[in-house]
Symmetry: C2
Subunit: 351 residues, 2 copies
């Protein structure tokens, strides 16, 4: 994910102006530029919290590509941070040709359009059964499509034609929610730590399944006993074993490197991580699917930095789209999922 | 909520058989019976975990109403526990006339129909601006409606006519999820503790708002700066102040009666509770609304034991329905929200 792209467009090698495109979101700041010497599109990311370091990254690019001179440099910014950090950008780069601010949705769509049509091996499908398959969307059948951009939060955009789009909805239960909950409950320090824990977890220790409520399938409405009825639904249960050494006044949750003890019952970090990864991912998938049904759109592209190439996450999203649409709709993923906005911002000034 | 109902049906006073209707769900076991002497429908609830005490409650009713004799008693059970605890019911009540198992969805709809049509003061609307208003649905305009039943998980049922319904979807992010997350994170012991904390909380300490990302409104797509972009989105941020007394090896989350310390930043229980109450409630509201749009249904009834008369929760659900439908659809609440299934089970044997 996020690998540099070789020789994408010969014309770009001739441009005099170095364009540095940035997409500064709630959690992550993304950057794209074209390294003319190497003939590569380069993609970088850092936490928005480390905004000073992000400025340094941009200075470094100017040092390497332009010998430190800002006079042939253009900065194109999108995302919320294009507004929030506009003054900072002006302070840090007073001698650039321009600092442009572009609309986030417009850049997302422009970037996605580029990746779909111009970059082979960019779009792919994935589920555990079929594995990964590169997709070259047939030009006649690309539109309309839906982009579900999962960052700190979720934006859902319907695209009818190039540059013709509507933000039809979104959700506040996004990447920021998952990382926030997991970092607080498990003490995990990085996204990848949480994702690797989820890999080895058993969510049935934490989730309440249909089988837990019924004892059997609820076949009449098509729900198998393994279907999750209530995410995290087993956690509030007090259990029947009272630990007499635990005084009633002691706070019922204490952390450890292994897990959290609650109400005399221990839940481990791996199980918690898997449960919440499923909960957030399934929910995004369901909302995406309901919107796709509402707007009659067959193809759903998942963008944003949430997925990070994690197979379990992609399988969950694919399954949600498949299950809720009775296989009528398709989920697509992107190698440069987190850089759609930055790519669109970059392209705006490449004629 | 859950108050007994006086003299609902004169004919019931003549019945020889005492019907005890139970709806045993993932978290709560609900019960309804008609006390002939007092002429009242009585409603009771206890945690499903306390199943032995639930059996004792049922024995107590038989003691009081039938002098302990089971021979004129019928038990009607619905919910998952009707299957899971069938053997236990047979063991505890070997001499009753019958122990019937009825489908959960069918009972929910039957009970809701009864409450809508036969019990004045049952259905109401609520939002902070307009307050509470009793509603008597016009008979000609009742159907079709949607029932969003929020228990441990969520079921969404479309009702086209009496006894004509389809479960169109649901969500695993329900009451069980909220109580599980809050009990684990805050150490709260009861639903009402969590709800009262939420009342006094400030979710903006925990949630990432549009304004936090943009600095201003994102007016172009109709999102105000106060709109929640990412629930719990502020929690994963590391912050800039490093607490030098905190060794790196120490687990970053510890609980206290006040809150949880994470990454050198403290989040208090009230703010966490409000954030998650909003997150879960808004999400249910959004999914309900998308389903209502998809199925062209104007009226949405919220059932199940999740709401518990909590004004903030009802306002959140009403706002979600209102906002996402541009005021085209309406949210309704019920005084006996948790007893729809038990009521429907009871009614099945009252001819």
């Amino acid at each position: 994910m996020g690998q540099s792209i070789e020789c994408p467009n010969e014309a770009w090698k001739q441009h005099k102006i170095l364009t540095i495109a940035v997409d500064i979101g709630g959690s992550l700041a993304k950057l794209v530029f074209f390294a003319r010497g190497a003939g590569k599109l380069v993609f970088q990311t850092i936490e928005t919290e480390k905004i000073s370091e992000f400025m340094l990254m941009m200075h470094e690019i100017i040092n390497t590509q332009e010998n430190g001179s800002q006079s042939n440099v253009r900065i194109v910014a999108t995302g919320g941070g294009a507004y929030k950090f506009h003054d900072l950008l002006c302070q840090e780069f007073p001698d650039v040709v321009e600092i442009a601010r572009l609309d986030e949705m417009e850049c997302l769509i422009k970037g996605l359009d580029y990746f779909i049509h111009e970059v082979p091996e960019e779009v792919f499908t994935y589920n555990d059964l079929d594995g990964e398959h590169a997709v070259v969307p047939e030009h006649a059948k690309v539109y309309p499509y839906m982009l579900v951009n999962i960052g700190s939060g979720v934006s859902i955009v319907k695209v009818d034609a190039p540059a013709q789009y509507t933000r039809v909805g979104g959700s506040s239960l996004g990447g920021g929610t998952l990382w926030g909950l997991l970092s607080l409950i498990t003490g995990a320090q990085t996204y990848d730590e949480m994702l690797s824990w989820a890999q080895g977890g058993d969510n049935t220790q934490v989730d309440m399944l249909v089988g837990d409520i019924y004892g059997v399938d609820y076949g009449k409405i098509g729900l198998k006993s393994t279907h999750i009825a209530s995410s995290f639904g087993k956690v509030f249960q007090r259990g029947t074993v009272k630990d007499s050494t635990t005084p009633d006044t002691m706070s019922s949750a204490e952390t450890s490197t292994k897990g959290i003890q609650s109400r005399k019952r221990k839940f481990n970090n791996a199980d918690i991580s898997k449960s919440l990864l499923y909960a957030i991912s399934n929910n995004i998938g369901q909302i995406a699917l309901l919107q796709a049904k509402l707007h009659n759109v067959p193809n759903i592209y998942f963008g944003g930095s949430y997925i990070r190439g994690h197979l379990m996450t992609m399988n969950t999203l694919s399954y949600a789209i498949n299950f809720w649409s009775s296989s009528q709709k398709q989920a697509f993923f992107l190698k440069h999922e987190g850089h759609l906005g930055a790519m669109g911002a970059f392209l705006t000034f490449q004629s």
